[in-house]
């Protein structure tokens, strides 16, 4: 298997950084725009995320997941950190935008990584309220209390819905990983 971009960065290949920016810039920027309060904030966040990515490059293990998911993990963490630091309020998106999420269909061109496909398959099996809770928490950065308020349900219900939803996603990803490992 040829070296991934992150492995090249970890080995000190400066040219790989440009490739990394080209490959993942739109992804990181899109996530930053979604979970930032302003354009300026998204720009700062994007810089911080890429710095995190470069510094963590050596920790990437292709056996544990795709490069894209690795970067999405870093981006999500950084953005949630910033969001919580900057405001107690939900991110900048309007109700209209909050309602606009459309999940990728498994097997469609919207999938960006095999693990995303697995997640998309799991999401299809979730109940609408489970999907909604994951959407508000993971894509829009709302806290569990904020989700409870927004949906008008008890906090315990939000926790339960998130737990079941995310466990289902994890199960799908693990099941598929085992299948791949078995060579089927």
């Amino acid at each position: 298997m040829s070296s991934s971009v992150l492995q090249r960065i970890a080995s000190g290949d400066q040219g790989a950084v440009r490739v990394c920016i080209d490959l993942y810039g739109a992804l990181v920027w899109s996530l930053a725009r979604r979970l930032s309060r302003s354009i300026a904030d998204a720009e700062d966040a994007t810089q911080e995320i890429f710095l995190d990515v470069w510094k963590s490059a050596s920790r990437f293990d292709a056996a544990q997941g795709s490069e894209k998911v690795f970067i999405a993990m870093i981006a999500r963490r950084r953005l949630i950190d910033r969001l919580r630091k900057i405001t107690a309020e939900p991110p900048m998106e309007s109700e209209e935008v909050l309602d606009s999420i459309v999940w990728a269909e498994p097997g469609s061109a919207q999938e960006t990584a095999s693990e995303a496909e697995q997640a998309a398959r799991a999401l299809q099996e979730l109940k609408p309220d489970q999907r909604r809770v994951l959407e508000l928490g993971l894509l829009h950065g709302l806290s569990q209390s904020e989700i409870a308020t927004k949906l008008g349900v008890p906090l315990g219900s939000v926790k339960s819905l998130m737990r079941r939803g995310l466990i289902k996603v994890r199960e799908y990803m693990n099941i598929d990983a085992e299948r791949v490992a078995a060579g089927s």
Partner: protein, 306 residues
Amino acid sequence: MAGTDPSQAPDERLIDLVIKELGEPLSDSEMRSLETFDAADVGRLRRDLERAAAAVTLAARLTDEPLPGRVHARLERQAADFFARPSAVASASSTPGVSDLDTRDRKAPAGEAPVTGLSVRATAVRRPPALGNSAGWWAAAACLALAAVGWLRSPSPLTASPASTTAGGLVDAAPSPATLRAQLLASGHALRAEIPAGKDPASSGVTGDVVWDPVSQRGYMRFVGLKPNDPALQQYQIWVFDAGRDQRYPVDGGIFDVPAGGGDIVIPIRVGVPVRAAKAFAVTVEKPGGVVVSAREHIVALAQLT
């Protein structure tokens, strides 16, 4: 206890805590509850669920926007800076293959003091009190009782000085922070400000200065009389007040330790984001690894550029 149901099965409680941690800071009681579980189990679950959360994020049909050219250009400059510090890559490469993606660097690149903490974890982030300016930091410091008993008494001996907290080898070859500070000061490009005596008992007798070059974004803080700390208990953290940013949220300038014996020490300021117009530099006492937002309970130094 908020967020914890005692009647809940332990497995479910653990999962709920880790899931909550994915999106928001845990309370102190929740953190304590999390610490009752096996660390390996927590780490494994945290990794799995973070991976699942990232995959869910990717599964959403995001409206991809191309990276703006100006941001691309900034990233390329940042990359050049990153690779201009060989220790940055070396530091990352030398890290064992950990599954935990916490990129907070607690130790410095070779030859320099601790680098900027770059936490991408949401745990233990505390919202600060709404203090509108840096002067408020001193006011807060004056009002708060000094409770860090472990901080001021019998610090554990450190194994390395701030200038040599990383693995050896390259340390001797690299200029010391004191040398680099002197060079920066001699360049004529840097701003300098004294650290006046503070009101927090922990800052008693602390003097020094800050030297900052707004162009190269490099700077150093020099301290005399700063008390040694036990890094297993607490660490010092530098904050930069940027006139171009919300003053409630200064820029993280890195964490550092003061070894037993202390003396005259020089600590590099390492910012992870551009500082447009630095106007003040503060040092707080924080938990090991530093924090994303300081609770400002102990401010041991504050220097204001004029």
